[in-house]
Subunit: 465 residues, 2 copies
């Protein structure tokens, strides 16, 4: 009976284990998890903090019982220390500190990522007890929840990416006065400035203070509170200093792959220091697979590897790794970077490439921004969706789409129509051929996604072959 | 300057005209419309009746001015009487009864459909003045609105298809006690019985009386009201008679293509008596195109023609006809029968084939019904979507999908993800490869559409090649 050993109890690791057991119920699977929270929805953390999910235990995709019933043996609070690919063993230390060597026939590494610590003076010295938090694990979450018990009145969030935005909403929901600080000139750096402005406006409208072009360089304790300092560039381009006193500081500026363990096995590192894997999620070290936020990601449009740590991708890669580890043969189809985020009443979603990404890879992109209604304007409640379509001017191919709309406008599902089109390398023009559903309360004879595509074609494809 | 003459001022005709002008702004386009309501949204009629769209003028996709500004010459209240393809003329009679011959270089026929009149005794004798209505045109709509001015207390709707269901909601919204009568054993005959039951339950829950297996055979006036009679089969299979007194009778049992004019040109008729066209929307009679509810529809999956009168399809076919009439060369990509309907708080959507359709065409279908949440259950407001996936057991190919869920579950957009997959002939299994968006308030790491597909694979694809 083959033994599949999995390091990591989050999306990639658990997906690998479940899929392995599904493909071959005779395999034995062991999951080594560094904490006591296997299969927790990391993406759900903001919704526990906001109070939407009062009990953090509800963030588990599956309970421990569910996992064990599916045939996964769980070693929790257990750290993998070293991989020996020659003897095919992993040295682990359990919750009691006892070391043990576990043998594997196949190994799946799903160690995930660790939060980036930006160069902020004081960040290493201060911690949760001082009200200074990073946020990546369930333990981080419980620490933050504890700080919130002390009823801080204000918070400053460093980083206005997905997690930063979700946490701004969450802390605002908890009654805190929230300031967001972002180094680049816009929030949500994964969409174009024109769309990001809509998100910033929504934050402001809801009472969140948004400071872009602002870099935090230090944090100190000052009379029981926290003083955050840095510098900022104003609209005229003049640099000035920045300083704010707050009760809570949350630093969420992204993640980097956690590859320390994998390197003990001699795996090769790829893009952005992530573990290099092929599309079968093989590391190149015999019998060793890797998946999730610790590996680089095959990009379907660029046909090259990139680093795109996303929960949905981790599930897919883990599933592929598990299937192959159990004797199957499946390839990861690739990521398109499809993402969505809810920010108060708005949803922002994107898939594929933007102008700069595309140009960097030798394409000839053009982007057209349209404002189209989610459903027929005559039916009550119609709301505009702002859609940016990026297409290649040489071939007419769809390269990407960005959408922003009210949460009732199905933006996070409409982006999936574009993702499907990108998956199949459609032209922008061919979107018109898709037989999409129509009923006036929910759509239009040409769906919003098609109207935006048609407007791109009118604007940019006149001279296409 | 070429003259494109278009007969019909609804979706297909107007789409043809607009597209022709877009492709070649030098063409002259004339639209001959039998009524005074060009480019009205026929699909929006129920929402005027319900009161959601108080002014019926708002149902216009575009105003008369919009159309004229786009370069369409409009001849309203004008009937096309006869086509002479030899002299390339159409005899028309205008609002004043004057006859005229219009010359064309290219002709687009978009005469649409007429409502089917089922064999109900009394239906020919009674009319709007008696409270007996068919519903297809804006004139029908205005008649019905007039009857509603008299504040009838109850209505009986014959036919529980898309329009019947929307009208049940509309008349209920106007305060009428509504009874729906359907000849077949279920409402919404375009989805499987298991899903249709959910729709019937919603109707009942809202206070609409639903009678299936019931055939109306007669309607008579009785003391200022209407007596509807017929027969019904009960659950035990026993036949009995049916009788109900009501104030308003609405007969909406489907449509048939309106081909009377086209036949004067000698066009060939195809499936279900609709005008036979090729994928360029050519009728075979030189210079004569046709599109919309009057033509048969190329089915993308079956690679054959069928009859699927839908607004979205009319727009697409009209656009293709207009493009080709203006000298372009575009093919209609084909219909998948994608449809959605809102029934009170539920939305039902479908695309592709169901078991019976597929089997009839030599496929080996199997359908699996799953109940999956629209978003992560831990986030407030998660609601189940019932999804029936039909796949081919020999090839694993996706054949169709049916979805029913609360109106907040993006069912009408989720169906479009399946429509995209069908467009590209994906296998059910390959849906797992789509990079769809994920954020806990709106989705899951595997979107509902993927979970349903995975469950189909587990149930039916074990032995696939």
């Amino acid at each position: 009976m083959a033994h599949i050993l999995i390091i990591g109890g989050s999306d990639a690791g658990i997906s690998a284990g479940l899929r392995a057991r599904q493909v071959d119920p005779s395999v034995e699977t062991t999951v080594v998890a560094a904490d006591a929270f296997p299969n927790y929805s990391i993406c759900g953390i903001p919704y526990h903090i906001s109070g939407d999910v009062p009990d953090w235990r509800d963030l588990a995709h599956r309970t421990r019982d569910d996992l064990e019933r599916a045939g996964l043996r769980l070693l929790l609070d257990t750290r993998a220390r070293h991989i020996d690919p020659t003897s095919r063993t992993v040295a682990v230390s359990g919750p009691d500190g006892r070391e043990e060597n576990l043998h594997y026939d196949r190994l799946v590494i799903g160690t995930g990522a660790v939060p980036v610590r930006p160069p902020i003076a004081g960040l290493h010295e201060l911690g949760p007890a001082d009200g200074v938090h990073l946020l990546h694990t369930m333990n981080d979450t419980l620490s933050l929840a504890e700080t919130l018990q002390q009823e801080p009145e204000s918070a400053l969030i460093v980083g206005a990416g997905y997690i930063g935005l979700e946490m701004a909403e969450a802390l605002h929901a908890r009654g805190l006065q929230v300031t967001m600080v972002e180094q680049i000139p816009q929030v949500l750096g994964t969409v174009d400035p024109q769309l990001a402005t809509l998100v910033a406006d929504e934050l402001t409208r809801q009472g969140v203070r948004v400071l872009t072009d602002t870099t935090v360089t230090g944090v100190t304790r000052e009379g029981g509170r926290l003083k955050v300092t840095g510098h900022r560039t104003d609209r005229a381009g003049d640099k000035g200093s920045f300083s704010q006193v707050t009760d809570l500081v949350l630093v969420v500026v992204g993640v980097r792959p956690d590859t320390a363990l994998a390197q003990t096995a001699g795996v090769r590192l790829g893009v952005r220091g992530a573990i290099a894997v092929d599309r079968r999620m093989r590391t190149g070290v015999p019998h060793v697979y890797a998946a999730g936020d610790c590996v680089h990601t095959y990009h379907r449009l660029l046909d090259t590897n990139t680093y795109l740590p996303l929960g949905s991708t981790s599930h897919k890669q883990g599933r592929v790794a598990g299937e192959n580890a159990a004797g199957g043969d499946r390839q990861f189809a690739g990521s398109l970077g499809t993402q969505a985020v809810k920010v108060f009443d708005l949803v922002a979603a994107r898939t594929g490439l933007r102008d700069a990404d595309a140009r960097e890879h030798g394409l000839d992109p053009a982007t057209h921004v349209a404002r189209v209604d989610d459903h027929k304007a005559y039916y009550p409640g119609a709301k505009p969706i702002t859609i940016a379509i990026t297409g290649d001017q040489r071939t007419g191919r769809l390269l990407g789409a960005q959408l922003i709309g009210h949460r009732d406008t199905a933006v996070a599902t409409r982006v999936d129509i574009y993702a499907g089109a990108l998956h199949h390398r459609m032209t922008v023009d061919a979107l018109t051929d898709l037989d999409l559903s129509y009923t006036p309360p929910l759509g239009s004879p040409w769906d919003a996604v098609q109207m935006a595509a048609q407007l791109w074609v009118s604007a940019h494809a006149a001279d296409l072959p």
